[in-house]
């Protein structure tokens, strides 16, 4: 066992030295200028994660599992996927009253977080595409703007 470990370590060390040596003699290559093609959805999800960590995580938890029977799960939530407009309305204006998520009833009160439409879109995109959740499209600020209080 010990010998094996030593041999792995030595190989690693050898490779590091070789690699380092090789790259140091290389001519510095000019990097081609790549015009950045930001993926709007990936960017939105990235911004959404920051909002989630700041304002949502304390109740819905880092992996979106929620806390039964008070805070419904977001990961694998059938309610979320089937009631997308209602869910976005909830994030935008707050959510009160009974909802059924994965067969369990939740009767809570989530306050509005005071986010602007772009931030609501970002955090929704994050939730819809994390912890195993997948959503083909992208939620835009315009879509959020069109969702009004009921």
């Amino acid at each position: 066992m010990m010998t094996k470990l030593i041999s792995i370590a030595t190989t690693g060390l050898f490779l590091t030295i070789t690699w380092g040596g090789l790259s140091s003699v290389k001519e510095p290559t000019k990097l081609p200028i790549i015009s950045p093609q930001p993926d709007p959805k990936a960017e939105s999800i990235k911004r959404g994660k920051l909002i989630y960590d700041e304002l949502c995580m304390t109740c819905h938890l880092p992996s979106g599992e929620g806390v039964a029977p008070t805070f419904p799960p977001l990961a694998g939530s059938d309610y979320l996927m089937k009631n997308l407009t209602e869910s976005i309305r909830g994030i935008k204006y707050g959510q009160k009253g009974k909802i059924t998520v994965n067969g369990k009833t939740y009767d809570g009160n989530m306050p509005s977080m005071g986010l602007n439409d772009k931030e609501v879109a970002d955090v929704t995109n994050y939730i819809l595409n994390t912890w195993g959740n997948t959503y083909k499209g992208i939620i835009t600020a315009q879509q959020v703007a069109n969702i009004k209080k009921q």
Partner: protein, 372 residues
Amino acid sequence: MLKSLYIILLFFLLPSIGCTQENEPAIATPTEMTYTTELVVPELEIPWGMAFLPDGSILVSEKTGALLLYKEGKKQSIENPPAVYTRGQGGLLDLELHPNYEENGWIYISYSSPEGGNGGHTAVMRAKLSGNRLTDQEILYKGTPNTSSGTHFGSRMEFGSDGLLYFSIGDRYSRDQNPQDITRDGGKIYRIHDDGRIPTDNPFVDEPNAKKAVYSYGHRNPQGMVKHPETGVIWVHEHGPKGGDEINLIQPSKNYGWPKITYGINYNGTTITEDTALPGMEQPFYYWVPSIAPCGMTFVTSDKYPDWKGSLLVGSLVFQYLERCVIENNQVTKREKLFENIGRVRNVRQAPDGYIYVAVEGEGIFKVVPKS
């Protein structure tokens, strides 16, 4: 090999077990309840502050920014409340009356102020009620610099036996910058005169660059504050991270440790610090693991509740009950959950009429009354 693997595993698991171990005493459901609740102010969103005026009316602040006066069964909107930064936990926050309110009419209001732009920070103002209008507004303190963060504003206020105003500002989601640095706002308990002047005997008045209003530091997000009815000591509770909510007895210049010491961990389960105690840092009077998300606190001193006299009541946002802590020999010896499923308890106060009032999100204000 297998044995050493277990030892390694144990080594990694032990600290996490240590951090998440439930703290004693375990909470119990009372076998018999002699009190019940009666909804007195209906239909509120997030009632944060409650002030009980001499004429029996209740002044209520809604986090959304509305200031309401509930008088003779009617809700009246008070005009001209301060502008608030409402992101996340920000908004119109706590209310407190001057100890000589009947003579001078001063009402103290804490709120997240957008003044200066680029987000907000906690501010304290005093103002007067004139009819249905808030007048004579004077800003007494404003945390700086503003940040866009919508969390950890603190906000609770209480007048001490010294006639000075104590208030809390949370760490503003900058735990590594604010709580341990007395030259920065946030993560502190503050003390000022009723007109905003800095008391000359505040602990850091002679420290260069210090925020002179700071009274104690190393706090995370204190949302409960009450003066002990006998000792006069200011009791504060604060939200911890995952686990590690604390009750602290505030003394001048003391460091309450956040984030250098804590009984909590990060929400994702990783460690914040290995330390629960360090020299020069205060231990909490009590800590909650798991977190109850404490908000609002009051001592029961009136003769309306003989069964609860002397207890400390604390609201729980996450478990949606009112917690009763029995305190004997300078420690919490018993914990009880009252009014389970009442909703997210944002505030609890004993009013001058001797009754306990409980503010619940999405519901309103309940009065605790003996069961008939």
